[in-house]
């Protein structure tokens, strides 16, 4: 018995020290709580809470990618390339911690391939959309043999007169080739040596060079059209095969236009066209007041739970309150370390988890009280209480945990935030409410049957 108690005292002290260490970490890494936060070591600056857009302010954009021209096997590659390009663009404009992610279509979501762009701190949605760009989609097209035939036919049918209405019904004079801006290595601004006219020089990457060589070889004496954003900008006639992967676009540019085009092409020509599906912008003030309110609600909620625990369950309630403090320190540290992106819904999930975290304690204490009532001594009652309450604790946590998993699986970023904080709360609370509370109660080492001890372990309005 004495060895058992000593072991638990040591364990309890270790848990208290570790808990205090975790709490200290949370405290030191929070800019708002330290007066000279800027002066402390770099380690502590690395772990702020990561706030979602609804709390930090910023823009959330959802784009739909038009993949009609992409073979189904290459969808993933194209989307990844698209993400890389948008990411480069956004980074180029100096947005801190942007998140650009691809949401693939699936049987569950039903929708097509989407690109989700989160821009913290960018509250001017016009600026944000411009940043993503009037996207240059660069395409190389070859002559459409059908179109040539049909134009010829049309001329015969209409006895030599081709009206403009007829032309509109004709197939496009050019058909897409495999060569697109995706295979572009870089673009440079050049000037024609004779006319001083600005030109855009293109250098293809390895695959692009091969494709371009093939296209020029197959189309000697024919036109190859260069389309930008779906409009033809030039259609030079190929004179010979070009094996070195270099091409030029000349299209009556002003020097400024040509320079802009070079910049846009270099920051990455989009492999596929995209269109904006939805936008969401939250001003910084609205976010800050939500954070403030969330913190206030969490503190008040915590105080209410602690008051209830101590008033109703007395000494075990006090122990459970200490365990709850450790629970909060661990959860907050995990939020910082993982890191979890906190949203208003995520804070709600965390606050609810404070209430759920003590559920296991309530189940255990109710059992301890029953065991005491049946005449057992305090020490035996504590042991029995813990072991008998386990089944109920397991059952009641399984269902909340399963719900959190399903919410996370299906959710948008908003639901995910809630599901993640709630699910983490359920798991960590099993440790704090059962293991920590048990070690503390054992370490306190109550063995007697005195009135004071019976009172301390009683509950509610009973004596």
């Amino acid at each position: 018995m004495l060895v058992f108690m000593r072991k638990n005292i040591i364990l309890a002290i270790i848990i208290l020290i570790l808990g205090a260490g975790v709490a200290f970490f949370v405290y030191k890494t929070e800019p708002g709580l330290n007066k000279n936060f800027d002066n402390q070591s770099a380690f502590f600056k690395k772990f702020p809470f990561r706030l979602g857009l609804d709390l930090s302010g910023g823009s959330h954009l959802i784009y739909k990618a038009d993949l009609s021209a992409v073979a189904s096997g290459e969808v993933k590659d194209s989307m990844d390339a698209l993400r890389d390009v948008i990411e480069r663009r956004v980074n180029f404009f100096g947005v801190s911690e942007p998140v650009v992610q691809v949401q693939h279509s699936s049987a569950i979501s039903g929708a097509g391939e989407q690109l989700i762009v989160d821009l913290p701190g960018v509250t001017d949605v016009k600026q944000a959309i411009e940043m993503i760009g009037q996207t240059p989609v660069l395409e190389f097209k070859t002559e459409n043999p059908d179109a040539v035939d049909q134009i010829a036919k049309a001329s015969v049918d209409a006895s030599g007169v081709v009206s403009s209405a007829d032309v509109k019904d004709l197939p496009s004079p050019f058909i897409s080739s495999e060569l697109t801006g995706r295979y572009l290595k870089r673009a440079v601004l050049e000037f024609d040596q004779n006319t001083r006219e600005p030109k855009v020089g293109l250098q293809f990457d390895e695959t692009g060079t091969k494709l371009f060589a093939q296209i020029t070889k197959d189309n000697i004496g024919k036109q190859v059209a260069i389309y930008l954003d779906g409009a033809p900008i030039s259609a030079p006639v190929v004179r010979e095969e070009i094996p070195n992967g270099q091409a030029q676009i000349s299209g009556n540019f002003t020097p400024a236009e040509a320079k802009l085009l070079v910049g846009r092409l270099n920051s990455g020509a989009l492999p596929v066209p995209i269109s904006l599906l939805s936008t969401q912008t939250i001003g910084a003030t609205l976010g800050a007041s939500a954070v403030h309110a969330g913190v206030k609600a969490a503190i008040i909620g915590f105080i209410l739970v602690v008051l209830f625990l101590i008033l109703w369950y007395r000494l075990p309630g006090l122990v459970a309150s200490v365990a709850l403090l450790i629970f909060i320190a661990i959860i907050l540290a995990l939020f910082k370390l993982m890191p979890v992106t906190l949203t208003a819904a995520g804070i709600a999930g965390f606050i609810i988890s404070i209430g759920i975290a003590v559920d296991a304690n309530v189940l255990i204490f109710a059992r301890i009280k029953e065991e005491l009532a049946s005449g057992k001594n305090v020490s035996d009652a504590i042991h029995q209480g813990f072991s008998r309450a386990w089944l109920s604790i397991r059952d009641s946590n399984i269902s909340s945990f399963i719900t959190a998993i399903i919410l996370f699986w299906f959710g948008t970023s908003l639901i995910k935030g809630f599901a993640l904080t709630l699910g983490m709360g359920v798991i960590v609370s099993l440790f704090s409410a059962i293991t920590v509370t048990r070690i503390f109660l054992y370490a306190l080492g109550f063995t007697g049957e005195g009135k004071v001890i019976k009172f301390l372990f009683g509950s509610g309005i009973s004596k």
Binding site: A293, G294, A297, V362
Partner: protein, 300 residues
């Protein structure tokens, strides 16, 4: 036990509340938010004075966005709801709101959701609800696989699910009232609230049924056997604990409702009612129904 003795009254109260909730849901319906149907929501706040609602309404309608809703918010703000807006449409709306002075107001938030995104989310939400319900039914079936006498295990499961529907339908009824009188909208958080209530309140019913099962086992070995007495005794043993576990969650939810961010206010209120009726149903509905089921069984 008092509750078992007057079980028909308590079952009646629950049935009445569920009925009122369902009738109001089908009579008044719910405002569907832009999360699910698509649309735009602009929130602005004016620095000094805000223009009269009537002065804004006509010029905004002249923009041709279809039906537009202009709601005052706070002392100096407006919330404008329209169809989903393109970048250019958003700009022209802001120009109208600024009334020639762009510095007079700040745009707090702008949210435009295309109809396809909304429908996708609605699809996901429905799938999530179906999946949670299926998993919970499996969980109940698993938890009661060994109970068979005197009431068979599928009846425990059926009653647990009945209690669960009760726990969800009443908060929905409250939400219908919020929707009607305060303009609350069916949005993503509404669905999250329903799913979380499902997850949390089923456990409470199961914990009480667990206790009944435990007492049945010890009593049947002792020879005497009165089902309604055992249920009553189990309730007596567990209702304080059942209320306590719900109370801690309700305490934090009330803190969230009164002090938390405005975005989660209706969510907190719905969750609070859900937790309250979740506990009410496991004490005053599920166990009385169990006794009722046993009585009917004996009559046959």
């Amino acid at each position: 036990m008092f509750i078992i003795k007057h079980k028909k009254i308590f079952i009646g109260i629950s049935a009445t509340l569920v009925l009122i909730s369902l009738i109001s849901l089908f009579t008044f319906g719910l405002h569907v938010g832009i999360d699910f149907k698509g649309g735009a929501l602009v929130e602005v706040v004016y620095n000094d004075t805000r223009p009269a609602q009537t002065d804004l309404k006509q010029p905004i309608e002249d923009l041709g966005f279809g039906s537009v809703l202009v709601q005052p918010t706070g002392d100096l703000g407006y919330i404008i709801k329209t169809k989903d807006l393109t970048d250019a449409e958003h700009k022209s709306l802001l120009e109208i709101l600024a009334q020639g002075n762009p510095d007079a107001l700040t745009e707090l938030s702008f949210n435009s959701i295309g109809p396809s995104v909304g429908h996708e989310l609605a699809r996901k939400a429905i799938l999530a609800i179906i999946l949670v319900v299926l998993v919970i039914i499996c969980f109940i079936a698993f938890a009661f696989r060994k109970v068979s006498r005197p009431v068979s295990s599928w009846k425990y499961g059926l009653i647990a699910i009945t209690a669960l529907m009760h726990d969800v339908i009443i908060p929905v009824g409250i939400f219908v009232a919020l929707s009607r009188f305060y303009g609350a909208e069916l949005d993503t958080l509404f669905v999250v609230a329903i799913l979380t209530i499902l997850g949390l309140s089923v456990s409470d019913t199961i914990v009480i049924f667990d206790r009944i099962r435990e007492n049945l086992r010890s009593q049947s070995s002792a020879g005497k056997f009165n089902f309604s007495e055992i249920v009553g005794k189990s309730l007596e043993q567990s209702f304080v604990r059942s209320i306590s576990t719900a109370l801690t969650v309700i305490l934090v939810l009330l803190a969230l409702f009164f002090f938390g961010p405005s975005t989660t206010r209706y969510f907190a209120l719905m969750m609070t009612t859900g937790m309250f009726f979740g506990t009410y149903s496991s004490i005053f509905l599920a166990s009385p129904l169990l006794v009722l089921a046993e009585e009917w069984q004996n009559k046959e």
